[in-house]
Symmetry: C2
Subunit: 278 residues, 2 copies
């Protein structure tokens, strides 16, 4: 069992309630060593586990999530309420609660991604272009071994050099990020790992400004296919940065060259000027 599976584990307690615990191993650790919030994707994967536990359909087709509070590294729970259980799709609301305050509010619609009765209509846009992985920049490695703690110590993220200039204080001038992604531990990609992957890149805003870490306010992601084994390719961009808000839309492509997940989030431009946080 990987640290990721342990960190996203849920214990059923009846009536749609699941005991969980935000895991320090996936917390964002700042340059000064202070432990911040647990990565949002890990929280999404945790909530998803609770929902899929009683879902009539296997695939999380649409997950929308509003991030309300930063969870403490202490016991918490997920409350799942089914709103509809249809033949094609089922929808549940699932809230991550701590001391009865909502930390993360989600609605998840599940379905079956490969529909045998489908008429076969198929079309996909152009995939992102990345250099070979060996030409990419190891994210945590760059920041030095001492910072390989928390989230950065769990994920193996290799940034496209075209979008990693900010690590050397030279943002490329465009709000884009691209890279390869996997866990450091060996584990096949699945829906839970996609929930992590859709927000695994550094904020796209780092491509245009030296900002602090950017809190996600809302994130919606769509699973489009079960990923093949191997490295995932991530590509993210913003379309509009204004008034302290920015959007970030990302795509996840698998090693077989298929688009397996999409996300869009709206986030606040980070206030701090602490530089890159690993």
């Amino acid at each position: 069992m990987t640290a990721f599976d342990e960190a996203t584990a849920v214990t059923p307690e009846g009536d749609g309630c699941y005991a969980i615990r935000p895991d320090e191993r996936f917390a964002i650790v700042s340059g000064d060593g202070s432990v911040g919030a647990v990565n949002g994707g890990v929280l999404l994967a945790t909530v998803l586990r609770a929902v899929l536990d009683t879902s009539p359909h296997p695939d999380p087709v649409a997950t929308s999530a509003h991030f309300l509070r930063v969870p403490r590294l202490d016991k918490a729970r997920v409350q799942v309420t089914w709103l509809k259980r249809g033949k094609t799709a089922a929808t549940a609301r699932a809230a991550l609660l701590q001391d009865d305050a909502c930390v993360l509010d989600t609605t998840i619609t599940t379905g079956k991604l490969s529909d045998p009765s489908d008429d076969g209509l198929s079309w996909t846009g152009a995939p992102p272009v990345l250099p070979p992985v060996q030409e990419c920049t190891g994210f945590a490695d760059f920041a030095g071994a001492t910072r390989r703690t928390g989230y950065a110590g769990q994920v193996d993220l290799r940034l496209d050099p075209a979008t990693s200039g900010w690590l050397r204080g030279r943002p490329q001038g465009v709000p884009e990020m691209r890279g390869y992604f996997q866990l450091r531990e060996e584990r096949l990609p699945d829906a839970y790992l996609l929930a992590l992957a859709v927000d695994a890149l550094p904020p796209v805003i780092f491509g245009i400004a030296r900002a602090g870490w950017s809190p996600t306010v809302e994130l919606t992601w769509h699973m489009r296919a079960m990923p093949a084994p191997g490295l995932l390719r991530l590509a993210a961009r913003a379309r509009h940065v204004s008034g302290g808000w920015f959007d970030e839309e990302s795509e996840v492509w698998d090693s077989a060259g298929r688009l397996v997940a999409q996300s869009r989030q709206i986030a606040r431009v980070g206030r701090g000027r602490g530089g890159p946080v690993t």
Copy 2:
């Protein structure tokens, strides 16, 4: 008071409950004259009205919505529950219910789009390219005056000829739609009209296949700025069509050339082969 404002009106009944009524004037009317579902954007605008009634912040920064059932043209209600009322953002869950069944489940985070304490960071991607409006195809007009009922009779949608070939049975081969949008009645654009605009175009899937109307399963939209008076420009595309599902991401630009709203939805490929529905 326009038909749109009447159709999206809410009557407070206390405890976060609002009486509403899906309005036939915004129902989708098929080629054979049968009255279908009320346009989803009108339902979104209705729910938004209920939420903004007690919101501490003016702007609906993020709205995520899961469409569960088709509402009848009969009395219904919106139930609003606030999950957080913060200084920067507030989040409410709002459900559109009919006979106690959830028709539309939303979570809406409100905030203030122009933050005076913002550091002024600003960046926007390239706007969509549209021909002059007089070269565009009137949507309802094309289908003939007899079909100017329901939704098509309320909105003035002018399609870019590059994306209107499907109206003549010749889809352009790419899942894209572009056009100009306003109500037929004179009314300044605002947050409510943006909730309609983000899903006002015909399904992008019509650009690659003669499909039936495509039910939206989940739609999230972000308001980015208060729109200037005048025509709105809409541009939508899909990135992936597979297994009976497709995504549609749209942008709304105002007459002043600003990106004012973004959306992404996941929808089912329509099963019918009835051709364009106006």
